[in-house]
Amino acid sequence: MSAVVRIDRLTKRYGSSLAVAGIDLSVEQGEIFGLVGPNGAGKTTTLKMLATLLVPNAGDAEIGGHSVRREPDAVRRVIGYMPDTFGVYDDMRAWEYLDFFGRCYRLPAARRRQMINDLLDLVDLAHKREAYVHELSRGMQQRLCLAHALVHDPQVLLLDEPASGLDPRARVELRELLRELRALGKTILISSHILPELEELCTSLAIIDHGRVLAAGRVEEISHRFRAGGVYLLRMVGNTGVDQAEAALSQLPEVVSVNRRPDGLLEVALSGDEESAAAVLAQLVGAGVRVVTFSQAASDLEELFLQITDVSPATDHGAGVNEEAYA
């Protein structure tokens, strides 16, 4: 497989602050590639540079073999871009919206008609063909915006937080839509600050913070790499069981930290791989601790994400948890 998107030391400064600090990534043909990071990590700036909306201060990126610096016009023909926040025109019907962008890409009239029908079907808006764009629901506008990015049948889709502000149902629909697009052979770059949202959808991930790539690779690789030393949740019978377990765990070398939660569960961070986790459990049981549950904390990647991106708990963490409930 060949890399469709190749990012080479891409850098963007705003004044004295470094928004994107030399990112290197490559995305293969047919991948759904997720960019994850907290707000302000540089995801949007990166996507904007790829979409030729911002000129990088250093480094370069190639999409479909065209440099975003030197051949922005060629790049624009192979990408479809959906910004994180976008508006819609007043006084415009759904089909006119797509027709307008079809004209922007200079599609002939017959092909435009065909394209409008196909795309409205694809994003499930055929029944809203004559509706005014500004009267559509948020989810519908989002789908229409995605359709606009597909008008010229681009190779690569750049989607900036496409699921933000959507209800759970619309999210599921969007995910289905993206899988369909992948089946059509599109390469998709998608950003989000919610990891679980991407974990199910993406084939590869890059975790970004402060403009740097902290981890990148295929989803299985990343989760495998960090499975070692996960966080486990333990439930014991009664409070005495918890005390016992706490005492026993503190003796074990694999245990990094033990944290007693108000709901009576023990949060245990372990180093080492799954073998050592099994050994810890065996030793607990051997010590006579009556263990009811021994399970990995909700999402390894989510934990990892929170650890390595070092978010301030007041804002981003809270938002992440809320969003998780939706996803």
Binding site: L53, A58, R77, Y81, P83, F86, G87, R103, C104, R106
Partner: protein, 423 residues
């Protein structure tokens, strides 16, 4: 307009560029006009506009008729007869001519005012509103030519303004009923209005591309409109007064040290004065006197008003062409024609310059607006680029960036290890 885009030659690079601009103009103006002309609003505006203009014209007519002290003796509507017929009084023909002249002048000035207010109103939000509504990024990521996009916006806005101007032509033709104003005067008036609409529309577009917010763009545009009208006239008058006092009031030096005429080229009302002066039935008119002061051309006032202004010293040869031009005028009343022989003010001394100035302003504004919309093109006014420019442009500086990055980011592998050990 799409067929036009397709018919353009695609072979050469220039042809392809033209084709892409034309298709962009077509795409954007189609989109804009669909929105603008949708529903009843656009047509209600035209109707209301025509009603107001008619009421205004009727007001001028009534006022002039009463001010003249002569009451038409016709039965019925009280309109004077269309043409001076045999047996029809000379005084009445003169009255009709002055009504025609007054009506023409009044309508021209009102329409100038409307264009001055409406053209920028349609364009001063055109680009900033795309920024505010966050639709501009969607446009810029298409291969749409930015010049085409800006021109498309202008075309759609001007189409509507032109529609308003054209819709008033039948009403303005009413002046032919009274005489005194020929078709050539009307054509000149409308040519000027089109040039004015183009210049002001493009100016609004440029300001819209320059400023982030529609509100400030609109305010700045109208401040410019005010500066072009009241501002230039005031400044010109100030210069006239100061040069006069410094040169001791001698007529000769007054001619030599005339305040710069170019200052008023972008003042649409001075051009109006030129157009109105050309239709004056009496040989003296304030507008002609003012223009004479502005352009320094000779102007002899007529017998009865006593307004001899700016006696020429160094340009006495201007009289014969004046006569020739006035004699050639079609549809001019005998009275007006006879009284202007040897007097009067030459035609087309000022407004063509003014129309040309507005056209140049329009072209310049359009080009600049297109430059401002492009994300990565040659000119960048809005976003002041600081030291990062230096960092990118020179080789050693680029290394500095790289060093900085390496300092911040001790490669991917080690980072993740240290993080996992953290808890």
């Amino acid at each position: 307009m799409t067929p036009l885009a397709r018919r353009l030659p695609r072979g050469g690079r220039v042809g392809r560029r033209l084709g892409s601009v034309a298709s962009a103009v077509s795409a954007v103006s189609t989109k804009e006009l669909r929105g603008r002309m949708r529903g009843r609003r656009a047509f209600v505006v035209v109707t209301v506009y025509l009603l107001l203009l008619s009421a205004f014209a009727f007001g001028i007519y009534t006022y002039l008729k009463q001010a003249s002290g002569l009451v038409a003796t016709d039965p019925g509507m009280g309109f004077p007869r269309p043409m001076p017929m045999p047996g029809y009084g000379v005084a009445e023909a003169g009255l009709a001519a002055s009504i025609g002249h007054g009506l023409f002048g009044g309508l021209l000035m009102v329409e100038t005012l409307l264009v001055l207010l409406l053209a920028p109103a349609f364009t001063s939000g055109a680009i900033s509103i795309e920024r505010e509504k966050q639709t501009l990024d969607l446009l810029v990521t298409t291969p749409l030519s930015t010049t085409g996009m800006v021109v498309g916006k202008l075309v759609s806005a001007l189409t509507y303004v032109f529609l308003l101007i054209v819709a008033s032509i039948p009403l303005a033709s009413l002046v032919f009923v009274f005489g005194g104003v020929g078709p050539e005067d009307l054509v000149r008036g409308y040519l000027f209005l089109f040039a004015l609409a183009f210049g002001m529309g493009a100016l609004g577009l440029f300001v819209s591309a320059l400023l982030k917010r529609t509100q400030s763009a609109t305010v700045l545009t109208y401040v410019i409109v005010l500066a072009l009208t009241l501002g230039t006239a005031g400044l010109h008058q100030f210069l006239v007064v100061t040069t006069q006092s410094s040169s001791g009031g001698s007529i000769i030096s007054q001619q030599r040290h005339r305040a710069p005429e170019a200052l008023l080229w972008l003042n649409p009302f001075v051009a109006n004065a030129d157009l109105i002066c050309a239709t004056t039935p009496n040989s003296y008119h304030e507008t002609c006197a003012y223009l004479s002061r502005v352009t320094g051309r000779p102007y002899f006032g007529s017998q009865w008003s006593g307004g001899v202004v700016d006696v020429p010293i160094d340009a006495p040869a201007a009289a014969p062409p004046v006569e020739a031009q006035h004699g050639a005028a079609v549809g001019r009343l005998p009275l007006a024609a006879t009284s202007s022989i040897g007097f009067g003010f030459p035609r087309d001394t000022f407004w063509p310059k003014s129309a040309a100035a507005f056209t140049v302003l329009g072209l310049l504004s359009t080009v600049l607006a297109a430059q401002l919309v492009a994300p990565s093109r040659r000119l960048r006014i809005r976003r002041p680029i600081r030291r990062n420019v230096v960092l990118v442009s020179t080789e050693p500086a680029a290394d500095v960036v790289r060093d900085e990055i390496e300092e911040l980011d001790p490669a991917n592998g080690p980072t993740t290890e240290t993080v996992t050990d953290e808890p």
